[in-house]
Symmetry: C2
DNA sequence: TCTGTATTTTACCGTTCGGTATATAAAAAG
DNA sequence: CTTTTTATATACCGAACGGTAAAATACAGA
C-alpha cells in the first residue's frame, strides 16, 4: 500500500504544479520511484488516479462541511465557521485546493473537469443548503439562495487563492481576515 | 491575412473547449483548413498563438475598462458600470472569457498561465484603482482596497461563469441581475 | 515445500505531440 | 521578364504521450 500512496502524493504535486494535462504519467512514476505498470495496476488510468486523489481528499472535507451545515445557528455564525473550514483546509491542503480550482475552471469537454464535476456539485449543494436552512432569518430570499452561495464561494475562494504565496507555499492571510471577508459579504463594504 | 485570423479563431474555440494543453496544434490547423507550417509562419509557436489571441481581445477590453475607471463618479456607479462592462464582454466573448478564467486558475509552472499572467495583473490593477480613487468616499479602507477588488472580481466572475449555459452557449442572467450582485457586494445580503 | 495470489518489472505498442527543413506557389518590386 | 518577398504545402523529426502484454518477484496459506 506504500507505493499506492506515494504515487497519489507525487501525482497531486505534479497536477498542481504543471496542470493535469501537462503532467505526464512517466514523470509521476519517476518521482514516486516506481514504473508505469504499477500505476496502472492501482488506478487503471490517469483519470482513475485523479479520481482516487479527489476521493481521498473529499472523504475528509465533506464531513467537516456537513457538521458545520447541520449544526444549529444563525447565518452569521455558520458562514464564519464555513469560512474557517475553508481556511483550515486551504492551509493544510493548498496544493489540492489549488488543483481543485484549476479543474473547476478547466474546459467542459476536458477529461479532468468531467472527473471533478460531481465533487463540485456536492460541494455547492452543501453551501446552498446553508442559505436555505436560514430562510427564517433571511426571508424567502426571492430564490437568491443559489446566488448567495455562488458569490460567497466566489469571494472566499478568490481571496484565499489570491493571498497564496507560491514561493513560500503559504497563505498570507489570517483566520481573522477571512472573517473580514465574511463580514463584508454579509454587511457590505461600508461595514 | 485571412488564414491568420481563421487560425486564431479556431484556436480560441479549441483552447476553450478542450483546454490549452489538451488542444493539439494539429487539430487547430485542420479546423482552420491549413497546415502546420502556416501556423508557425504566423505565430512562431503554440504559445505565440495564445499570446496573439490574448493581445487581440485585451486590445478591445482594456480601453473600455479604462474609460469606466477614469470617468468621475461615486463607487456605486463605477461598480455598476464595471459590472456592465464585464457582462457585455462576457456575452460577446464568452469563449474567451472562460478560457481566460481557465488560464488564470491553471498551474503556476504552466506555460499557459505564465503567458496570460501579465494580462491579469494589468486587469487587477485597474479594478484596484477604482477603490483607491474612491477613498474620499470609503475612508482609508485600512489598506483593504486590494481585498475589495479581489472579492468584487471573485463574486462577479463566479456569478457570470456559473450562470453560463454551455449547451446553448448563452448566459442565463440579465444585466439587472449583475447589478444585484454589485448591490449585494456593496450593501450585504440583507439589502 | 509447494501453490496461488498480489505486486512490480522489462520491454514494448501505436499515436500524437510541438516543431522544422525544404520545396513551391503567388505576388509584388525591379 | 527577372528577382525578391510573402505565404503555403509536403514530408519529416525526435520525443513524449497514455497504455499494455507477459514475465518475474514477493509473499501468503496449506
Amino acid at each position: 500500500m506504500e507505493n499506492r500512496e506515494r504515487i497519489m502524493q507525487c501525482a497531486e504535486e505534479l497536477f498542481y504544479s504543471r496542470g493535469y494535462d501537462a503532467a505526464g504519467v512517466q514523470e509521476i512514476v519517476e518521482r514516486a520511484g516506481v514504473t508505469k505498470p504499477t500505476l496502472y495496476y492501482y488506478f487503471g488510468s490517469k483519470r482513475g488516479l485523479l479520481k482516487a486523489i479527489l476521493d481521498t481528499k473529499f472523504e475528509r472535507l465533506i464531513p467537516e462541511l456537513e457538521s458545520v451545515v447541520n449544526r444549529p445557528g444563525d447565518i452569521r455564525s455558520k458562514l464564519y465557521e464555513l469560512g474557517g473550514v475553508y481556511y483550515d483546509f486551504f492551509r493544510e491542503e493548498y496544493r489540492f485546493y489549488m488543483l481543485l480550482m484549476a479543474l473547476f475552471y478547466s474546459a467542459r469537454e476536458n477529461e479532468a473537469y468531467q472527473t471533478a464535476r460531481p465533487y463540485y456539485e456536492h460541494f455547492y449543494e452543501t453551501v446552498i443548503r446553508v442559505f436555505k436552512d436560514c430562510s427564517w432569518e433571511l426571508g424567502n430570499m426571492n430564490g437568491r439562495q443559489k446566488q448567495f452561495a455562488i458569490s460567497y464561494i466566489g469571494a472566499v475562494n478568490q481571496y484565499l487563492v489570491l493571498s497564496f504565496d507560491k514561493k513560500t507555499g503559504k497563505s498570507t492571510v489570517s483566520r481573522e481576515q477571512v472573517r473580514g471577508i465574511v463580514d463584508q459579504f454579509m454587511y457590505g463594504i461600508f461595514s
